[in-house]
């Protein structure tokens, strides 16, 4: 099969000044081999000494960069046009971000204990001593020591990543232990950072654990991230996820991304050179409250074990600079159906942060961006009542109607006596079951923590029904009124 290859100006002296030449081959790799056989002087400008395409050489088939197709193995059809398009790069002397650490790996040596510890890596030709030294000289910052951060940090520590940072501000709660395997039963109530540090240092005393007890914000993110080779995003909310993404893009540090919801997880690698970022995939956050958190929606405990371990795998390959990472691919995992799927991603040239003409050049207010900023005083909020007020009214046998908008399986775990269950998703068709206003009973709506019930109050208002939201939901009820019931 013959194909046309378009030659850019700087390479035309090697093709007799022709701007297009004909080549043969069924794949891009074969076509380029045919090209460099016919025009031998092209080879050293297209390929580095290790036989790989120089990374400032971009090969397009028609309008698609082969990095997002099958690379060298991309099949060619009749009439496909291959273009060689230069990227132009350069800069001042000295290392740029991220290069300083890898340069240090040259001076890194392993001690006797490390040779024994990492033996199974050292006998892998793909890792070997050079790779293990890179890991020792490498660094990963884990955002969160929760469901994803736990397995990720454990495997990174075990693998010998020399410097592991953890950002978290939470204390260990009993409900964390179902999945956050860095923490154990005696750790309940301790800061997560302390139990994480103890556990990781016990696993591998050869590495350095750095802890940052802070909520990640636009004010501290760049300072915290600087100097790490990889950022591992184990956050549980959209505002922080966009913050991590943007900070990674601005600093040029890859983001080993993972997220989980109920039985499903996803993973990718964002913010690499030429690769897509989280905003290329999701330009806008979902409306606040649409996607419940793990605390609201639940999560299968072993799910973050799979996704966090994938994030650790990607971090290790990024440090080694080897293997095929998830750059340009979104891996989807369904634990319930036990299926992995993959979506192709590409950098969006119009992306506001990593596109060709970025409009976001510094970190912004991510809570505002995600619409989760607390409503300013004076704005419309839903009418609320507290658990103490509710208890007093129940005791006084006041005319009230308690509406529970949670799901039936939640109702089975804990409930407020006398409440009526109508799940939020059914409320729009079942509001007729509520007592009419003429009955004179005040409607009080609750859910687990107050998010869904606030939506229910607004929904009822649209139907002309006045109701009050129970602040803090059943969790507050259990905390303050009825500790005999289990929290979930």
């Amino acid at each position: 099969m013959a194909h046309r290859v378009l030659i850019p100006t700087p390479l035309r002296p090697y093709t007799g000044q022709k701007d297009a030449v004909e080549v043969d081959g069924g794949t891009v790799g074969e076509a380029l081999a045919s090209l460099t056989t016919n025009y031998k002087d092209l080879r050293k400008h297209l390929y580095a000494d290790d036989g790989k395409l120089r990374h400032f050489v971009n090969i397009y088939v028609n309008d698609d960069d082969i990095r997002y197709l099958e690379r060298d193995a991309t099949k060619l059809k009749d009439g496909d046009v291959i273009s060689i398009v230069p990227s132009v790069a350069g800069g001042a002397p000295g290392p740029a971000l991220g290069e300083a650490q890898s340069a240090e790996s040259k001076g890194t040596e392993l001690n006797k204990a490390e040779f024994e510890r990492y033996s199974r890596h050292l006998i892998l030709p793909e890792v070997a001593l050079e790779g293990q030294k890179k890991l020792k000289a490498g660094s990963v910052l884990c955002i969160g020591a929760g469901g994803l951060g736990s397995p990720a940090a454990l495997y990174l520590a075990a693998a010998g990543v020399g410097r592991i940072g953890i950002v978290d501000f939470d204390a260990v709660d009993a409900s964390n232990l179902q999945r956050q395997i860095l923490h154990s039963t005696p750790d309940v109530g301790r800061p997560k950072l302390q139990s994480a540090k103890d556990r990781l240092e016990a696993l591998n005393p050869e590495i350095k654990i750095e802890t940052f007890e802070a909520r990640l914000t636009s004010a501290n993110a760049l300072e915290l991230f600087r100097g790490y080779d990889v950022i591992l995003d184990g956050t549980d909310n959209f505002a922080t996820r966009y913050l991590v993404n943007d900070a990674c893009v601005l600093l040029g540090i890859p983001n080993a991304y993972g997220s989980i919801f109920r039985f499903e997880g996803q993973a990718s690698v964002f913010a690499t050179k030429d690769g897509p970022c989280y905003r290329c995939l999701y330009p806008e956050p979902p409306p606040p409250g649409l996607v419940p958190s793990c605390a609201e929606g639940g999560v299968l405990g072993v799910l973050p074990g799979v996704i966090g371990t994938i994030q650790a795998t990607e971090s290790i390959k990024l440090i080694l600079g080897a293997g095929s990472t998830l750059v340009g691919r979104l891996l989807l995992y369904d634990a319930w159906g036990m299926r992995f799927r993959e979506l192709k991603l590409r950098r969006d040239p119009a992306c506001p942060v990593c596109g060709d003409h970025p409009t976001i050049k510094q970190l912004i207010d991510y809570e505002e961006f995600c619409g989760v900023k607390p409503a300013p005083a004076g704005s419309a909020t839903v009418p609320e009542t507290t658990v103490e007020e509710l208890k007093a009214r129940i005791d006084a046998k006041a005319p009230i109607f308690i509406l529970d908008v949670r799901e039936p399986h939640e109702y089975q775990v804990a409930r407020i006596a006398g409440s009526t269950l109508i799940p939020l998703g059914q409320l729009d068709s079942r509001y007729g079951e509520l007592p009419p206003a003429s009955a004179g009973r005040e409607i009080i709506v609750h859910c687990k923590s107050g998010v869904r019930s606030a939506k229910a109050v607004n929904l009822l208002k649209e139907h002309g029904i006045e109701a009050k939201n129970l602040k803090g939901g059943i969790l507050a009820w259990i905390d303050k009124i009825d500790p005999s019931q289990p929290k979930y």
């Binding site: 700087p10 400008h45 971009n58 990227s87 132009v88 350069g90 001042a92 002397p93 740029a96």
Partner: protein
């Protein structure tokens, strides 16, 4: 024109002054654009394309620095940028002959990073910007065997 002979972090074999240097001629406007762009972008690197018509670089076409490696020491013009510059040159009835970039607080000499990323047959103009003020400006061409750069000579018309 004074030339900064300091060789910071550059392998001496990388650069050579040829006995008969290649001459690149710029218009005053193009030169001024490069100086202004370097000063405005300080402490970050600026970059742009050089568009030649009838043997003279008539336009320094400002481009976005899309590096992900930290713009204080790196610049990058991606494939989309390259195509844009090529289009611009054709629209002006000229040719895309090379690129310029700045070295904030560093000499106007190619770094080893510049060498690793250079294309043959292009003109590379480097401007040193010191504390925000444009300083020396130089021009370079990659040797065909990629072993280093040869320094060329920059000229611009007096007056005009």
């Amino acid at each position: 024109m004074s030339t900064d002979r300091a060789r910071v972090d550059v392998d001496p074999s990388v650069t050579t002054l040829q006995a008969t240097p290649r001459i690149t001629t710029l218009t005053k406007d193009a030169l001024q654009t490069i100086r202004d762009h370097g000063a405005e972008s300080f402490p970050y690197e600026c970059c742009g394309a050089l568009i030649e018509v009838d043997g003279v670089v008539v336009e320094a076409f400002r481009m976005e620095n899309t590096t992900l490696g930290g713009a204080a020491r790196r610049f990058r013009i991606g494939p989309d940028g390259y195509r844009l510059a090529d289009k611009r040159a054709r629209e002006r009835g000229g040719a895309l002959v090379g690129f310029y970039h700045s070295h904030p607080n560093e000499p106007a000499r190619p770094s080893t990073y510049d060498l690793e990323h250079a294309w043959p047959n292009l003109t590379y103009v480097i401007i040193s910007v010191r504390a925000g003020t444009p300083a020396d400006i130089t021009v370079w061409h990659l040797r065909d065997d990629r072993s280093g750069f040869d320094e060329g000579e920059l000229k611009w018309p007096i007056g005009s």
